[in-house]
């Protein structure tokens, strides 16, 4: 019983982080907090990918000087590669969003999303 919870702990954390992220995007008024919400979502997805790639007792896929028992017992490094790419993209997205937030603060004098509403109708 204890083991089941422990093995699935990362997935529970992923679910919690997804919930927190969506709550923050949906219900927070401050634009910076919305950006943080998107970062939380991204963290959840990255954690999910990394957890998928974990194989207990397996070796890193480096053939040079690998021990004998590592043959046929190496992890496929795809999830790690995906996560790295996703982190890099996430940096670009958050930088651009924060730049927009700065610009909005300069023009509107507020970061409250209920007041930043000149475009409507």
């Amino acid at each position: 019983m204890n083991n089941v919870i422990l093995v699935n702990l990362p997935f529970i954390v992923v679910a919690l982080l997804l919930a927190v992220g969506f709550y923050t995007i949906g219900f927070k008024r401050n634009l910076i907090k919305v950006v943080i919400g998107i970062e939380i979502l991204e963290g959840a997805v990255n954690l999910f990918l990394i957890t998928l790639g974990y194989v207990k007792g397996a070796y890193a896929p480096i053939y040079t000087m690998a021990p004998k028992e590592a043959v046929n017992n190496m992890v496929l490094p795809t999830p790690q590669a995906l996560t790295l790419t996703s982190i890099v993209i996430g940096v670009a997205v958050s930088a651009l969003m924060l730049a927009f937030a700065v610009n909005i603060y300069e023009h509107y004098g507020t970061l409250d999303v209920t007041k930043v509403r000149r475009l409507k109708g």
Binding site: L18, P79, S86, I89, M97, F100, I104, H107, L119
Partner: protein
């Protein structure tokens, strides 16, 4: 040389995107260089279409000379990054390159008074790279990466006029929607990867079954792409983004939206082909979303005063036609008799409408940009009597408005008629809604025409002249295409649209490339 085309389609605009910022000193050189790059890409995409029509499917593998090369252990799964181009992808690639070229041509005069133009053209080319990558790739993770590239470049362009607060507001809205959608896409890619250990669309589609995880992944992918293509419950970003983006980017941004629609079709027809051929509810959901989208879009458009905002709401409503047309085909996928009777034609209508809509809506948004260029306002109540001053813009507007309302000699009629005819056979209510929407569309464009072009001349605009030549040329090319596609719809249907429909329908040939079962 020809077999490297799919990779070159990405490489050439990417090269252009990173060399354009070097021309910082001379914005004219940057504009010419970007136009040249887009023209070359357009030529390559024409070659690609010709090649794909001959071979049916083109597979390009990065890091190996043929896709059949398997792992040393003999384990036969695709492990490399693979581009897989069929007629549907080639059609989208052709519209993306055509519209980037038109947009670059139009931008030459339209944005010449802005600053930071070398970045503008670099982002335009980057947006083109994102779209081309999305429509050419055969790999789910690649799809995510290019979706993000298109999203970032697109929202940076929406916020390009950073001296306006509204532009940043629209930009952050677009970026939030697109990054949430693409993160959810990545999450469902993770679900599928965890289950099947692969990312290749063709390979995954042979494995996917009816278990809970697959259905959840289908649901998330469907919702995210529907969100990104401006379907109804999450359409709020569309009018803001289309209104605030400079008009020269509008054509490319439209194609970026429909690249997500393409991904939606690819997911429902190829990736989950087995599931959606058994469950007709996927198709019905798409039809109902389509009808809601077209009706809500057009009713919102009727009350607008801002000319670009009005046209953007029409863009939402026209997306509904595409969803309806293809949804009808998806709903009868499990019934070969009905599929042959009207399903295939319905899909042809939906896909033909994508390319038609890209052409005439770009034309209309560019005429709106021309009005803004000469009057400095987008408010319809302040314009008037511009028809005498701007004859070419007026002609372009009339052609575009007639095409969007589905009046016979123009291209909108051809695709809308296919959709009315076929959706009637699935359920008459769909066809009625589609026709009512079309009438309302005509009504609101009559309003625009009357208030901007007709009426007594306004004193403020005594001195206005026709817009510069590059804008006129860009608009007239699209107007000519509207007329040509409307006069000879059978040529376009036979050469481009029906091959695309068959490519979506023939799941088997998508799966069995290169001998890997």
């Amino acid at each position: 040389m020809i077999e490297h085309l799919p990779a070159l389609m990405i490489a050439v605009p990417l090269f252009g995107a990173f060399t354009t910022p070097l021309l910082k000193k001379n914005y004219k050189a940057a504009a010419v260089w970007a136009t040249l790059i887009t023209a070359v890409t357009l030529g390559m995409s024409l070659l690609l279409v010709r090649e794909v029509l001959i071979r049916e499917i083109m597979v390009y593998v990065f890091g190996a000379d043929k896709p059949t090369l398997v792992l040393p252990s003999g384990y036969r799964v695709p492990i490399r990054i693979i581009f897989e181009v069929d007629a549907m992808g080639a059609l989208m690639a052709l519209s993306a390159t055509l519209m980037s070229f038109i947009g670059a041509l139009y931008s030459y005069s339209h944005v010449r008074n802005e600053t930071g133009l070398e970045k503008y053209y670099a982002l335009l080319l980057l947006l083109e790279v994102g779209i081309l990558g999305m429509v050419l790739t055969g790999d789910l993770f690649n799809l995510f990466v290019f979706l993000e590239i298109a999203g970032i470049a697109g929202s940076a362009l929406v916020g390009f006029r950073n001296y306006r607060g509204e532009a940043s507001e629209a930009g952050i809205k677009y970026l939030i929607v697109s990054s949430v959608a693409s993160l959810m896409v990545l999450f469902s890619i993770g679900l599928l990867y965890g289950e099947y250990g692969n990312l290749n669309i063709a390979y995954l589609s042979t494995q996917i079954g009816f278990n809970t995880v697959d259905i959840i992944a289908l649901g998330i992918l469907f919702t995210s792409f529907a969100m990104k293509c401006g379907s109804v419950p999450t359409h709020h970003w569309v009018p803001d983004a289309y209104t605030e983006v400079p008009s020269g980017i509008n054509p490319t941004l439209l194609v970026a939206t429909y690249a997500s629609l393409y991904a939606l079709f690819r997911v429902s027809f190829s990736l989950f082909g087995k599931v959606s051929s058994e469950m007709s509810s996927v198709g019905w959901i798409m039809c109902v979303l389509g009808v809601l989208t077209m009706f809500i879009g057009v009713t919102m458009a009727l009350v607008q005063k801002d000319v670009k905002r009005l046209m953007s709401y029409h863009a939402i409503s026209q997306t509904g036609y595409m969803l309806l047309g293809v949804g009808v085909g998806l709903a009868v996928l499990n019934d070969p008799a009905k599929l042959a009777a009207f399903g295939r034609d319905a899909m042809a209508g939906g896909i033909f409408h994508i390319i038609n809509h890209i052409i005439y809506k770009s034309l209309l948004l560019m005429t709106a940009g021309a009005l803004f260029y000469v009057t400095g306002t987008r408010n319809l109540n302040e314009m008037g009597g511009l028809a005498r001053k701007m004859p070419y813009t007026t002609i372009a507007f009339i052609v575009g408005a007639a095409a969007i309302s589905g009046i016979p000699p123009f291209n909108g009629f051809a695709s809308k008629f296919l959709i009315y005819e076929t959706s009637y056979q699935l359920s008459p209510i769909f066809a009625i809604f589609a026709m009512v929407t079309s009438v309302l569309t005509l009504a609101s464009f009559v309003k625009v025409f009357a208030s901007a072009f007709l009426g007594p001349p306004v004193e403020k605009y005594e001195e206005v002249k026709e817009v510069p030549r590059s804008m006129v040329v860009a608009m007239l090319i699209l107007a000519a295409l509207c007329l040509l596609f409307g006069l000879f719809p059978n040529v376009v249907l036979d050469k481009l649209v029906y091959p695309a429909v068959d490519a979506l329908l023939k799941l088997g040939s998508y799966q069995t490339w290169g001998g890997i079962p």
